[in-house]
Symmetry: C2
Subunit: 447 residues, 2 copies
């Protein structure tokens, strides 16, 4: 029987948890077990089909594990004997551990639509060989239908059209694409960009069944419309991969995630931790369980879990939820609550909006209009969230807001924010839209 | 005699102070007096000579004043009668005020080098007609010498070479260009980019005199070298424009700036405020006066001053000093203290460094390596400063650090930072270099 101090089950957040553990406990032996041979950058998966040109260009190198003296075993854990602290792998090997970390992630939801089992209907499994097959199959596809207009669906639609003579249709059940993530005005903007790119959007539309004999030939919508399709991608969402944890008698919580405390320790077993998509998350704002799966949250949790294994160092403040996407060249990002979400949790809010070119003067090359919307609590002026659309710099601008939210910064403080500005890199100091959006709210707060 | 509630003297920060006042005191009459007809974006001035193609493309529109019902008078204030609260303009007009704001900015230091008065030797006055003349003269220039290798000097060198058949030489007295602003490794990187662009760098070099009859023909260095020149630009630095304040009996402080408190109110007169380059600044870190002139600080101060005119709303927390520049396509930025500066004020520091491509996978288009260096106080783990080099997103990434510094964020907290990431916009969540730089310092803190 193999022995280790720390045993980590899983992929992306497993790597980060391992490195964090190595940093805090340099003398401990760390082993990562995962079933995937090659591990993909999860947020890069849509880009395999367009910009980067294949799954082989979207791989996380295992060198990170080696250079941190973390042993990697490519196999699947099938039994956890908590009493004896022994994990059994599929090939029969057993590993004794002191501390165990579940970083088993999530898997795609496959909706129970009749015909979903037909050939060329694909959910997005984070599996190299599977996604390679999808890549190869897509070469001859003429009519691609994507069911689901959330991030995955929209990013796939935008990428799959690139460099291909292909009709792409997105079928979304809600009135707008990205509606769970963005406020209405940003949804509208993103949809315009999709339409500009030649993508067919069918909103308020439900896929009722998938047509064809062995292989898909079309999608039938609830309203009777038939759409031609020789490939269907399912972008409905993901669910936590917690079957093994459940079988091991570990308590699950919200939406079948593993119940953990703010130290990322399971409620059930003091020597077992969990992080990433498989772990329960709580809102930074309300403390309630939330259903957010983001690589940025997963890696933050992994850093906390790895550091806390032998003595709690870090406390998880809850999921702020910060993300960004690009739709036909325009970036969209949110940190914290949208206006819709803030109102859903009962907040009285004050909204501030501002826009400005992301260079100054606006005549600098590649200048892009940036639009910022901030949401503040009316009674205390605290920043609850922000949404931004614009050019490449939006990816880091949203992180400015994440830092502000994490510190409960008020509109009054953001008015005094000292931002660096430069003609080629940012808006002008007079027009900097995060500050100007905050300025506009000041007269409406504390009243 | 004209009457107003609020009278603001000056340009860039005058506009921002006026808008801030308008927002907080909607009923007050606000007048801005400035001598410049057209006002330039100050940080955009070097870009007039390259990327934007002329001063007419680098103008702050006066529409901002109009839309905020702020009256603009293009004239120069010459006398302030504080006892009667009356300002006299050059054309003889008098204006009675309740509250007066000095936003008179700064002007270039003209070093006392023999020959500095010769034709085609230019300090950088923020004056449209003057800079237009420099633009026209530069058309026929073959040998441009820039005295001073700080931001202004380096940005002029990089811009003036663009689209011109011209030899550009930078003469810097210190051992490295940008040495007052950047740590050694970033100075070295910036210098490499300048040399790559074909710019001649003469460091450890002092301009002893400017040669020529009526018009400049060369620069003589202290070591006896003569450099050919048909134009010389002086990029030595700036000094506050506070002559009128001094004549009005207002107390000056450090480096002849107007002495103000944290409300931006002058020490001398409760109805007179100052903001921007003409106002005294104190370090966010030590509280000591500092000699930093940045548009971002100026506008933050202007927002504070404008809000505080009739009742203090905001308190200035001191200058963090956040800035960015671009050298031959690579961005360099600093927020807070560099390692050198932290050591100069006696801090024990722990340094964390990390680098990563600014996309993930690195094979995404236009991926640029981002290098991050963070400086933490050894005893308390608080972030004192950060330096970044990389691509366009550095301009906003440095603002993430500004927000972290403003909230005295510790390395432990940055380890848990929830950053949004996206393949086309940022580093990967595993490699995000701000977080990874903080992670690396954790074992060396609190010991």
């Amino acid at each position: 029987m193999k022995e280790t101090d720390v045993l980590i089950l899983g992929g992306l957040s497993g790597i980060t948890a391992g490195i964090s553990c190595r940093r805090h406990y340099p003398d401990k032996k760390v082993v990562v077990v995962r079933k995937e041979g090659t591990i993909l950058i999860p947020c890069g998966i849509p880009y395999i089909y367009g910009t980067v040109g294949g799954p082989q260009f979207n791989v996380i190198p295992d060198g990170l594990l080696e250079s941190n003296q973390i042993e990697l075993i490519k196999d699947e854990a099938v039994v956890v004997d908590r009493e004896n602290k022994i994990v059994t792998l599929k090939d029969g090997e057993t590993i004794k551990y002191e501390k165990l970390v579940f970083a088993t992630g999530s898997m795609p939801i496959v909706p129970p639509i009749p015909g979903v089992e037909k050939k060329n209907v694909y959910a997005i499994w984070k599996d190299f060989d599977y996604l390679s097959k999808v890549y190869d199959e897509m070469i001859n596809v003429k009519d691609l239908v994507i069911i689901g207009g959330g991030f995955i669906g929209v990013e796939f639609a935008d990428e799959c059209r690139k460099g291909r003579d292909i009709n792409v249709t997105v079928v979304e059940a809600l009135p707008q694409c990205l509606q769970m993530a963005l406020d209405d005005e940003f949804c509208a903007e993103a949809q315009e960009k999709l339409i500009e790119a030649g993508i067919n959007l069918l909103v308020d539309s439900k896929a009722q069944s998938i047509l064809g004999d062995e292989k898909v030939t079309g999608v039938l919508l609830a309203d009777g419309t038939e759409i031609k399709a020789d490939m269907v991608i399912l972008g409905i969402g993901a669910k936590p991969n917690t079957e093994l944890a459940k079988q091991s008698g570990i308590e699950l919580g919200f939406n079948n995630t593993i119940r953990v405390d703010a130290h990322m320790r399971t409620y059930t077993d003091p020597d077992i931790f969990a992080c990433g998509d498989c772990a329960e998350k709580h809102s930074f704002f309300t403390g309630r369980p939330v259903n957010t799966m983001l690589a940025s949250i997963a890696t933050a949790e992994a850093r906390i879990a790895g550091a806390n294994l032998y003595s709690p160092v870090h406390r998880n403040c809850g999921a702020i939820s910060v993300f960004s996407t690009v739709v036909n060249g325009r970036a969209f990002a949110v940190a914290g609550l949208t206006e819709r979400q803030a109102k859903q949790i009962g907040m009285n809010v004050v909204i501030g909006k501002a826009e400005s070119p992301d260079t100054h003067p606006g005549g600098m090359p590649n200048s892009t209009l940036t639009k910022v919307k901030l949401v503040f609590g009316k009674e205390n002026g605290v920043l609850l969230g922000g949404s931004i659309s614009g050019g490449k710099s939006v990816g880091e601008m949203i992180n400015v807001l994440s830092a502000c939210i994490m510190h409960h910064m008020t509109a009054d403080e953001i008015v005094m924010f000292q931002m660096g500005t430069h003609p080629a890199l940012t808006s002008s100091p007079i027009a900097y839209p995060i500050v100007n959006a905050a300025c506009k709210t000041v007269p409406f707060l504390h009243k």
